[in-house]
Amino acid sequence: MTSNPLMTLMTVVMIIWIGLALFLYRLDRRVSKIEEEMNEP
């Protein structure tokens, strides 16, 4: 499996994307939390 360079490239890119996605999703969660807190003073 590792001999095919495209596979390694894909796994590398996939890992980068998952990291980015998790970071974005966490940001999204935090913003939604602040939004709720701001809307019901």
Binding site: L6, M10, V13, M14, W17, A21, V31, I34, E35, M38
Partner: protein, 221 residues
């Protein structure tokens, strides 16, 4: 739930399609796969510019919630700036692969560079208007004037291009022949990157809306 969250599902699929599923191109082989990342990113930077421009027009036309419009235009421009730099990098790699040199003033490369110059100019104007109450409308006017220049550029590039470009490019037809599978991958990739832009843009808008609300919580009018 905003539809942009679909990007979390689509992106892995597109990565798989672009790197594995799609067949290699005729001349360049697997190296041509960068096309699935370069074209969408360049397309998104143009979309971001148009969104910023439309926000600017709305800001000038409608009187209400000007500050939100100002931030929305600015957010779109910031996102656009990131994508245009990515487009430039992937574009020059693409040029290196298909024509042997990183930069040779091909018409598409030139229009990407000009768009980047406009982004740089807008962001520097915006930052130097920092404590001017009129900042929103002035930077909106700049975006509108820049947007007027774009269609003129689209007419000129093909006409001017032959005389400016010193030597003929290596492979004559620019677009490599796209089989069905490649076309589907490219389309999926464009959709996904647009969703990614939408997601980031909307997230930044929500944050700037919160900033305005937090600022206005301090006073009652």
């Amino acid at each position: 739930m905003n539809i942009y969250r679909l990007v979390f599902i689509f992106m892995p699929v597109v990565i798989y399609m672009a790197l594995i599923w799609a067949p290699p191109a005729a001349i360049l082989g697997d190296a041509s796969r960068i096309l699935y990342f370069h074209v969408p990113v360049a397309w998104v930077s143009i979309v971001a510019f148009l969104v910023a421009g439309i926000n600017s027009i709305i800001l000038l036309v409608s009187e209400k919630n000007r500050r939100e419009r100002e931030f929305m235009a600015h957010n779109s421009a910031v996102a656009g700036m990131v994508f245009i730099i990515l487009a430039l990098i992937t574009g020059s790699i693409w040029a290196k692969l298909s024509w042997g040199s990183y930069w040779n003033w091909d018409p598409r490369e030139t229009s990407i560079v000009i768009l980047m110059l406009i982004y740089i100019a807008y962001l520097s104007l915006y930052s130097s208007l920092k404590d001017n109450p009129n900042r929103g409308s002035i930077s909106a006017v700049y975006l509108i004037i820049a947007m007027i220049t774009m269609p003129f550029l689209v007419f000129i590039i093909p006409r001017i291009y032959p005389s400016l470009h010193p030597d003929t490019i290596i492979n004559q037809e620019r677009k490599i022949h796209l089989e069905a599978a490649m076309r589907i991958t490219l389309f999926a990739s464009i959709v996904t990157f647009t969703l990614l832009y939408g997601y980031i843009y909307r997230l930044m808008n929500r944050i700037s809306a919160l900033e305005i609300k937090a600022e206005e919580k301090h006073y009652d009018i």
